[in-house]
Amino acid sequence: MAPRAFQPSTIAIWLFLLPGIVVYGGVVLTPLIGGFYYSLFETKNFQFHWAGLANYVRLWGDGDFWFTLRNNFIIILLSVIFQVTTAFIIAVLMNSRLVIAPKFLRTAIFFPVILSPVVTSFVWILVFDINSGLLNNTLEAIGLGGLQQKWLDDPKIVIYSVTVALVWQYIGLFLVIFLSGLSAINQETIEAAEVDGASTFQKTIYVIFPQLASTWSVAIVLAISGGLKIFEHIFVMTGGGPGLSSTVVAQYAYSQSFLRANFSYGNTIAIAIVVLSLTLVSLTIWAFNRFVVKDRI
């Protein structure tokens, strides 16, 4: 950074930073430390007894924990496939000159992003309702009654049903991310490819795709951290049920603490999620920098 003509004292600088750091640290940093501290105890009869790493040992062997984590990974995987990839395709299509109303499309597809998760969850409860739901009635109306499902009651389907709701709500976010990435790429390379007679498909794969590598990394990082953050939607839509079928890891921590009064174990799960999320995100960023971005340059 260039030397400044005026530089306030270090004290003045920290005075400006301090209020924000205190508020933010009080919600982000101290709970992490406190959460880790409590995870070293055992809760029984509303009392805490020192337990060392016993909770982490239990976590390692806890099939329910791994099952709920598997649900998070299903959501992440499907998000990357259907949400990120579809958003990319739509963005590329919208960027071509074929599309007649790009502004309207962008606004419409983005619209659900701004709605409250509680509202969209109720929307999807109504969509999935067995008898008066939008989905089963639509299937009936178009003669596909045979495809009707117990969307939220069938343990084999429910995790996919809630994922549909998530993909639906946030695809617009990924769309605008790709659109903004596309607006920054070099138009000359695309025109050059067109002059060479490249098809739309070839343009996308060989010209556009590589130039969007960093946008892709942002989108995938978002899908991963987003997939591990999932809580409200499932909490409202299914309560994690039936049984454990649609429970995600954040909700598992919630129910251990608040429904089973096992705060130590709830904190243990919380710490595990944080560590896992930060590890996965760092790995993704590292992998992109190492294998994708470098190759291109």
């Binding site: 600088i13 962008r106 942002v218 989108a219």
Partner: protein, 276 residues
């Protein structure tokens, strides 16, 4: 528009428009069904209301709890937005303009907030609040709402301030303006566009937030609108038009903001994500 009318063009447009309709139709469906009687709803869930009624809305307003929740949400959203704008501007200005030891650490510290799985913090935050004794007050939710809004706000603001020529600050300083004057009288007005973006995003987040509200608030009189909707949804689970009316009421301010400021909101979300 230079596109020719070809078969692929028609197909692509049709597919995209169909897709866009599926994203907005459910909410439109909710809005028009909220104007039906329960009998009309069970007759056909698709048909437009032939005899629109505000019965569901009247019923909700008569119970009255929605007003408290609306005021609470408005208070949380406005107050946390104000705090976020002020605090993030101070932080972003300092980060963008000055070199000092710990600068990078402070910056990464705030980046962390965008990647943390927030619901994982519910339990520890709750226990911390319980220990301090600040559960269940009018101000309880302001702290997490402000804190988690700061990450994104600091990013957006820092990036914007960086693009403003620093000569402007220096010239003002040479003319005798204090740091405070430079920050708030000279530079802040220039930042209006990004302040607007930050304010809109913060307002949306605070208005919609559910996880912290459901964990930290037990007193009915401090519940924000998403909590109200969940309780109301439980009580009126079989009165579909009433439930839908509740959903509409919970979303009206958000939808109005979106209609007026859609470009800014979309840019804000995209910019925040790409920077992160």
């Amino acid at each position: 528009m230079t596109g020719r009318i070809t078969l692929p063009a028609i197909l692509i447009n049709a597919a995209l428009i169909l897709f866009a309709l599926t994203t907005i139709f459910p909410m439109i469906w909710v809005i028009y069904n909220s104007l039906k009687s329960t009998a009309a709803f069970s007759e056909s869930i698709f048909a437009l209301p032939s005899d629109p009624t505000f019965r569901a809305y009247v019923q909700i307003f008569e119970v009255g709890t929605v007003w408290t929740a609306m005021w609470n949400s408005l208070f949380y959203a406005v107050a946390s937005t104000t705090l976020i704008v002020l605090l993030s501007y101070c932080i972003a200005y300092v980060l963008a303009r000055f070199e000092f030891p710990g600068r990078a650490a402070v910056f990464s510290f705030f980046i962390l907030g965008l990647l943390l799985p927030i619901p994982a913090l519910l339990v520890p935050v709750f226990m911390q609040y319980r220990t301090i004794g600040i559960l269940d007050t009018q101000f309880t939710l302001l702290i997490p709402y402000t804190a988690f809004g700061l990450s994104l706000a600091v990013f957006l603001m820092e990036g914007y301030i960086r693009k403003i020529p620093v000569e402007l600050d220096e010239a003002a300083h040479v003319d005798g303006a204090s740091l405070f004057t430079v920050m708030f009288v000279i530079v802040f007005p220039i930042c209006r566009p990004i302040v607007a973006t930050v304010a809109l995003l913060s307002f949306l987040h605070s208005w919609n937030e559910f996880a912290f509200a459901t964990t930290l608030i037990r007193d009915e009189s401090y519940k924000p609108i998403p909590l109200w909707l969940r309780t109301f949804g439980g009580q009126y689970a079989t009165d579909y038009p009433a439930l839908m009316a509740g959903m509409v009421l919970a979303s009206v301010p958000i939808i109005v903001l979106f209609i007026f400021f859609r470009e800014k909101i979309v840019e804000g979300f995209a910019g925040g994500a790409v920077k992160a």
